[in-house]
Symmetry: C2
């Protein structure tokens, strides 16, 4: 089912994931100050996240509630990916293709990914054939 999170909710979840467990105040302060909403805004979102089942209150310290995530970052991200893939017909191929086309994904990226998988797949056993383990740093497009 994977809860659907809005952009703001996601940003706040990022703070929660980073802190593992935190009060509204801590969460607010964790947010990049450029886009840091008022304390009560964060509070409201946390409440909504609670209703959605994305976080829960675990205890209380002083008079402040401490929240912690109920959904993992990975699960949330996966939901985003699935939504996007759905637009691309369910398969990641078109997505990949476009990433390549716009230069956001290079041949090097693909190769290193491939060898990483190959390595993972052969799981410890010997077979470093597709090895070309390059440590390439990516460049950003204009």
């Amino acid at each position: 089912m994977a809860i659907k999170l809005t952009k703001l909710e996601l940003e706040i979840m990022e703070a929660v994931w980073a802190l593992r467990s935190a009060s509204v105040r801590e969460i607010q302060e964790q947010l990049p100050e450029r886009k840091r909403p008022a304390y009560t805004t964060v509070q409201t979102i946390i409440y909504r996240l609670e209703e959605k089942g994305a976080v829960r209150r675990v205890k209380k310290i002083g008079n402040a509630h401490i929240f912690e995530p109920l959904v993992t970052r990975k699960a949330a991200h996966n939901r985003l990916i699935d939504d996007l893939l759905h637009v691309f017909g369910g398969s990641p191929r078109m997505l990949m293709a476009q990433l390549v086309e716009t230069g956001q994904l290079t041949l090097e990226d693909i190769r290193s990914l491939e060898s990483a998988i190959a390595k993972l797949a052969s799981d410890g056993s010997s077979n470093p054939r597709t090895a070309a383990t390059q440590t390439n740093q990516r460049r950003r497009r204009k």
Copy 2:
């Protein structure tokens, strides 16, 4: 820039892209009947898309306006991708990694993509090293 489209707007745009040029009625009928909103709902969205600059009226047939897209499908999709990538820190690597992890992207996918790129790169006869900025023109879909 790249206009931001909501889910419904995107679905309607898909119809417009498919038809190239169409009336509200045609657009509505192009939508998969499972999720086909009322005629006026489609009309409302088209109007909003018009305000956003995603479509425009090109002419009139009978008493019906004929609309056509102003933004390409690719551009719109790209906007979606960029938004997603942003969540993943701007780089497609984490995205890829997760696709692989969930089995949505297989080693085969990657290999075939790789060779496809390799072919494209050499095809252009330029240097076969990095495919970062190819302005490749491709055939329009029908």
